[in-house]
């Protein structure tokens, strides 16, 4: 997958799960403040990403530092590349 395809897949998956308007999703969008997610949603967000990309990320320390949608894009892209190069 290209980086752009990964970004689009993330946005589609999160839009479906959390009923977001995909047009309003930008890399600067914050998960808690702009998108209104809470701690329960973050648990489900991890499941959505794990299911969409077939990877395990629940125990990753970096997950706890995510603030924006762009952080998710970068995290998943890095994780995918790391997996591909392993």
């Amino acid at each position: 997958m290209t980086d752009q395809q990964i970004v689009e897949q993330i946005n589609r998956s999160l839009a479906e799960e959390f009923e977001f308007d995909i047009e309003e999703m930008t890399p600067e969008t914050t998960l808690f403040q702009d998108m209104g997610l809470d701690s329960l949603d973050v648990v489900d967000l991890v499941i959505v990403l794990e299911t969409a990309f077939g990877m395990k990320i629940r125990e990753e320390e970096a997950i706890r530092k995510i603030v924006t949608l762009g952080d998710i894009h970068n995290f998943v892209i890095a994780k995918k590349r790391q997996t591909e190069n392993a």
């Binding site: 959390f18 009923e19 209104g36 809470d38 329960l40 949603d41 648990v43 489900d44 499941i47 794990e50 299911t51 395990k56 629940r58």
Partner: protein, 409 residues
């Protein structure tokens, strides 16, 4: 005996006839059937019944995702019905968040649909890694009561009685007792259930589900009829807003009706089969609670689900106490059996029968089973003043319940 007078100031209904008590009454008064064919039932090995009474007129998207994520259909039904009941009663944020308003809403089980989805996934690889954070809130036994309280901002007591078909009758009775003893001033109470093949299957394997009318669903169930062949399962929610009379008067609320008596008892003779003596005891206790004699009751709204054992035992019990004159009907012919919701959907209709001064007949009752002939069956709409109604609900598990409503004076 209720120590304080308890009245009804709001009602909500989600039924096969749509959302709202007006829709419910329109279906009942037009003698419509809410029963439809459910093709998915035909795909289940061993399932013989193919019909159900499914709720209509519900848009779950009305509820914000933040609240909806913790709900299965039964909580959606309960929430929308509670919003309607509160609106009808003129109850807003001040009362809902006062701590003086509580919730008493039950269901037969937590969401069977969510449980099915979880175990289907879990059993595929014995993994919890795909389990959503909100799963528990769908399947906990107090799912409906808690979800209602979350959406409406209720800060008072939460009670979630569970007694299958007696659930909402008990929910109303226990709520009335809480108000009568001064513990709460207002209670949103009732029941909700969502249709799932497990419910139909439960009755089907006991040979108590209707299967002879799969191609003519509007002809079943047939309470008290000689050709009846069992229950048709349904779904929905019925909600009553109960209120202390002094509270309702102080608010200037429109008072719809009064709850004057309640009884519930256990029948340890059988976990499945009703017993006429035990049913009769329950009705007598409700009459005692209301300080009434049998002749004071103008109409009896029966549980009568169209099973062989239930209809006959209930008629025997009614006949013992009320004799052959008191009018009797069941609304299961229209609504099917909405399980935990049935009691309060039918109570809402009873309130309207008092207000509109009429009796609604048993749909599909064409030829009274001779074994059910000891009572006076209502077989067409009867226009007459109705002051006092006794309403029954009897449940698997040996749980009987009766409520008495009276015109508010």
């Amino acid at each position: 005996m209720l120590l304080k007078r308890v009245v009804i100031t709001g009602m909500g209904a989600i039924s096969p006839f749509g959302r709202g008590v007006e829709s419910l009454m329109a279906g009942l008064l037009e003698a419509r059937s809410g029963v439809v064919q459910v093709p998915a039932l035909a795909e289940i090995v061993g399932m013989r019944t193919r019909v159900a009474a499914l709720a209509t007129g519900v848009d779950p998207m009305e509820i914000p995702r933040k609240h909806r994520r913790s709900m299965s259909n039964m909580s959606v039904y309960a929430t929308l019905a509670c919003q309607d009941a509160a609106r009808m009663a003129g109850v807003g944020e001040a009362e809902l968040g006062s701590g003086r308003l509580g919730v008493s809403i039950g269901s037969t089980t937590g969401s069977p649909q969510t449980m099915q989805e979880f175990f289907r996934d879990f059993n595929s690889d014995n993994s919890l890694e795909r389990m959503k954070s909100t799963l528990f809130f769908h399947i906990m036994n107090h799912s409906c009561a808690s979800n209602v309280a979350q959406v409406l901002g209720v800060t008072g007591r939460i009670l979630a009685p569970a007694a299958a078909c007696s659930t909402s009758c008990q929910a109303v009775g226990y709520a009335a007792e809480m108000i009568a003893t001064g513990r709460q001033d207002l209670m949103l109470c009732g029941g909700a259930d969502e249709f799932h093949p497990l419910t139909s299957g439960t009755f089907d394997i006991m040979n108590a589900a209707s299967k002879a009318f799969n191609d003519s669903p509007s002809c079943t169930p047939r309470p008290f009829d000689r050709d009846r062949d069992g229950i048709v399962c349904g779904e929905g929610s019925g909600i009553l807003l109960l209120e202390a009379l002094d509270c309702a008067l102080a608010r200037g609320a429109d008072i719809l009706c009064e709850v004057t008596g309640f009884a519930t008892n256990s029948d340890p003779g059988s976990i499945a089969n009703p017993n006429a003596a035990s049913l009769a005891n329950c009705m007598r206790q409700a009459l005692d609670d209301a300080g009434l004699q049998p002749e004071d009751v103008d109409y009896l709204n029966a549980h009568a689900t169209a099973t062989e054992q239930g209809d006959i035992a209930e008629c025997e019990a009614i006949g013992q106490i009320f004799g052959p004159e008191t009018p009797v009907s069941s609304l299961k012919g229209h609504l099917g059996h909405a399980m935990a919701a049935s009691g309060t959907l039918e109570l809402a209709a009873c309130v309207e029968m008092i207000r509109r001064e009429l009796l609604i007949p048993t749909l599909n009752l064409e030829h009274v089973d001779p074994r059910c002939s000891g009572v006076s069956h209502v077989q067409g709409i009867v226009k007459r003043p109705v002051e006092t109604i006794l309403k029954n609900n009897f449940a698997l598990g040996g749980v009987n319940s009766s409520i008495i409503l009276r015109r508010y004076k």
